[in-house]
Symmetry: D2
Amino acid sequence: MFIHQLEPRFAETDALGHISNTIFPIWFEDARTPVFKIFNPEMDVHNWTLILARQEIDHTAQTFIGKSVSIQTGLGKIGNSSFEVIQIAEQDGQVIAKGKAVLVHFDYELQKASPIPDDIRAQLEAHKV
Amino acid sequence: MFIHQLEPRFAETDALGHISNTIFPIWFEDARTPVFKIFNPEMDVHNWTLILARQEIDHTAQTFIGKSVSIQTGLGKIGNSSFEVIQIAEQDGQVIAKGKAVLVHFDYELQKASPIPDDIRAQLEAHKV
Amino acid sequence: MFIHQLEPRFAETDALGHISNTIFPIWFEDARTPVFKIFNPEMDVHNWTLILARQEIDHTAQTFIGKSVSIQTGLGKIGNSSFEVIQIAEQDGQVIAKGKAVLVHFDYELQKASPIPDDIRAQLEAHKV
Amino acid sequence: MFIHQLEPRFAETDALGHISNTIFPIWFEDARTPVFKIFNPEMDVHNWTLILARQEIDHTAQTFIGKSVSIQTGLGKIGNSSFEVIQIAEQDGQVIAKGKAVLVHFDYELQKASPIPDDIRAQLEAHKV
């Protein structure tokens, strides 16, 4: 499991005085960086092999500025070319959001899914939750 | 069903050359404005009665800058205090994303769900898909 | 002069109840699209020849959700390889922000400025304010 | 002088493969948090006394994902009710952007500027650059 810590930004609040729900996909994507690096250690954007097929987020409590947020990221089901990333965000000891993302190992040139290589699969397995 | 038209912004692209997946929750929230107005015709942020409990998005095709996007928004299941919003985004005649949002009629003062009033429920029902 | 109309988005508000100042650079960039198209009619991101050297914005009034915003965009000084874009945003008949952006005609391959071609210069001149 | 360190996010890139210029105002605002806390130690958004009057940013080099960014923040001219914040962002030992923000000590209830209290002024002075 990977841990990502962040401080909510003022620009991430909305008129209801809390963190906008539209920010969680950005935080969760950012917290998936260690997963991206399994596929692409240099984060070379010209050689990217992942695409997001689905994202779902349950918002379980309001989130506020002024207290840090911690996001746990682990792997869920791993298929032939796709896999799930499971994420939990906490603030002040309380779960504020739970996320699931489905990513596909993708060949942007051929514009189609491609099997996850074995060495990468082994690394993903090591982070299953 | 409500229709929302938009032009993707340059700032909404990412390094893969397409629209970032993190932008869809913003577009979908914006396209839910007519639903917000059923509850709050003036969009008075000091008198807001909705909270997002869950959002899920399936990304079915890549989205690019330079062509407009159209989002259809309708109502799904309507419960005692919560309801689903169903959304479909298209670009260039192709479905690019499908969204479902679960919203709760919420009393921010009491910090708890509150039943949807009958007159509002009738308006929501009129937009079921 | 180009006119760009937009509806502020809920996600663009901040905890002070108004539109975040961090959103204006996005709106102004978006409103510069007709200028981008003078250089790149197809908005082909793989063939981009402009880079932003400087942006400045004066915020003259608070901006709120629920009322449309109109942005006027025109050309200022035009140099050998760089030029100014002058922008004014209004809401409800009031000027809310004034912007100036300095853009450079840029060769991303050589990583240096390159002279503005004459035919493009003529089109820029036509939109001077 | 205050130092703020950050890792660029994937969602902050744009189709040119670098960090979008529209992100710098967000980073700079975030890096001004210690200045906000001089006025409002709890970051209580219901008791906010600052408003942004002007922001200007010079972009001096392209910024990329994968390497951390460091922002130095200090105080410039301090007037009766307004003051300047001077900021410099670096990546990989290179200055990528320089910012100046003009903030006004503002009474949101009266909707007008109000003099900076002496104890706060003393703290601002201590961070002059």
